[in-house]
Amino acid sequence: MIVKGRGIAKGSASGKMLVSDAPLSFLSGVDPESGVIIEKGHPLEGRSIAGTVFAFPYGKGSTVGSYVMYALSRNEKAPAAIINIEAEPIIATGAIISGIPMVDHLEVGLSDLPEGAEVTVDGDEGTVAWEA
């Protein structure tokens, strides 16, 4: 199964699909040392996003969040790839400076993505692929 979208940050990577329907602030929302979501009340609070293909609607909060994404990648705790409904500058900047492939504007909704399955994101082509 291949779904099309728009490439925001280049590169290709695979990981286990993790889907959240809540927006996320990386600053004070994700622990840069462990990759665990620490935002109080976030649906994925306590879960790690390290190595996952992490899908969420869009980023929120401080622009310093971009540097937190860079910190995650230096600590090898960043998501393998990111999928957003609508890219905004904080996540786009963080993904690009950290070399995390990222796509948005998928032709399917986030709930149509296969939670837990092995998924490949291609940021150059703007596609998401998995074995259906």
Binding site: T63, Y67, T93
Partner: protein, 387 residues
């Protein structure tokens, strides 16, 4: 996005990894904002200059970069005066980290000017495209000068400085610069000092939000426009405002004066912002003082001695060009610091009640310094500091 052949080569890595990454960032953000092309800029101003904001990972990211900016690029204010930080009682460890950040930017060819008023240092002209990051500088450049810039994030402004271009969207496009809300003031004759206009901006910005306001019935000068815009950028998210017959774009035949919505601001509300509270310290220069403001302050302080800590902030270049005014101010016991300001410096954290002459500082001092703020005119600030 449509790219020039050379930009394609940069994107393909032919001009090194740093430029490739920076081009990738401009193209990526261009997609986010729906830009079709990149346009050349004449200068950049980079935020994320304080170690407090970018932290160790931001510093490490900067250190890995290897390219030089191709247009004049300056920094946002940092947490201390680069030379007089000891006098400001900045902790050694903070100063050391701050120096490392500044050095990393210097390595990229950035001028060591850390200011929210880059327009006093190099001439910025009507119609020029810029990539500036600090909210009051963006507001002044767009509104008072008629240059064109979006409010950039730190990495995006740095990328624009290194590539010399920025994505063409938002306030770079003339049709996006038309006003969408009118602002009228019931008793504008009461607006006299820059602090009055700062207080007006502080009040009006809350209802304006991120819209583009069109003011009628007021005639602020440049320093007053600066104070008003800075306050609206802080209490709202104003990046461009127009004042009828005063700011340059309102004189264009294509300028649309018929706005869909109008806000009324009462001077009673503006006056309420002023108080007579006792304070522990006084700070002026938010945004950094203009040469005229520096001269005015020095003449007000002649023969006087401060009895409370009095902080004065201005761009290093402006300070260097006005040595007599600066020494006159410092003879009173006031301190004139460069590179930093009341909002970003930890030096002000030790005071509980701070008097300012700025609507922007009034908006930020409570959260950034954890202090109560009182606004007054420049003259009132001098009176309070010397009585």
């Amino acid at each position: 996005m449509q790219l020039e052949p050379e930009d394609e080569q940069i994107l393909n890595g032919e001009y090194g990894e740093t430029r490739q990454k920076m081009m990738e960032l401009l193209v990526g953000l261009g997609k986010v904002f729906g830009a079709d092309e990149l346009i050349p800029i004449t200068s950049a101003q980079v935020s994320g200059a304080s170690y407090k904001t970018i932290g160790k990972w931001g510093l490490e990211w900067l250190r890995k970069m290897d390219a030089k900016v191709v247009v004049p690029t300056v920094l946002n204010p940092i947490g201390m005066d680069r030379l007089r930080w000891k006098e400001m009682e900045i902790p050694e460890d903070f100063a050391a980290k701050q120096k490392e950040v500044v050095e990393a930017y210097e390595h990229l060819g950035i001028e060591l000017e850390c200011t929210c008023t880059p327009y006093y240092l190099s001439i910025t002209q009507f119609g020029e495209h810029l990539a500036w990051a600090e909210s009051s500088a963006v507001c002044y450049a767009n509104s008072v000068i008629g240059a064109r810039t979006n409010r950039e994030g730190g990495p995006a402004a740095l990328a624009a400085g290194i590539i010399g271009k920025t994505p063409f969207y938002g306030l770079h496009i003339f049709k996006n610069r038309q006003p969408d809300v009118g602002v009228v003031i019931d008793d504008p004759s009461d607006l006299k000092d820059a602090a009055d206009f700062g207080a007006l901006g502080y009040v009006a910005g809350k209802s304006i939000g991120n819209r583009i306001p069109f003011f009628t019935g007021i005639r602020p000068n440049r320093d007053q426009l600066k104070a008003m815009g800075a306050a609206m950028a802080a209490s709202g998210a104003v990046a461009l405002f127009h004042v009828d017959t005063i700011t340059p774009e309102t004189r264009f035949p294509a300028f649309k004066k018929d706005v869909p919505d109008t806000i009324e601001v009462s001077m009673a509300e503006v006056r309420e912002v002023f108080s007579a509270m006792d304070v522990d310290a006084v700070a002026v220069g938010c945004p950094h003082l203009s040469p005229e403001e520096l001269e005015t302050l020095s003449s007000m302080l002649i023969g006087k001695t401060v009895t409370k800590p009095f902080f004065v902030f201005a761009a290093r270049g402006v300070i260097a060009d006005h040595p007599q005014a600066v020494s006159a101010i410092e003879r009173s016991g006031a301190k004139v610091y460069a590179d930093t300001c009341v909002v970003v410096s930890p030096a002000l954290d030790r005071y509980d009640r701070i008097m300012v002459n700025s609507g922007k500082a009034l908006a930020y001092v409570p959260t950034m310094c954890g202090a109560v703020a009182r606004i007054g005119t420049l003259e009132e600030c001098v009176t309070v500091a010397t009585s």
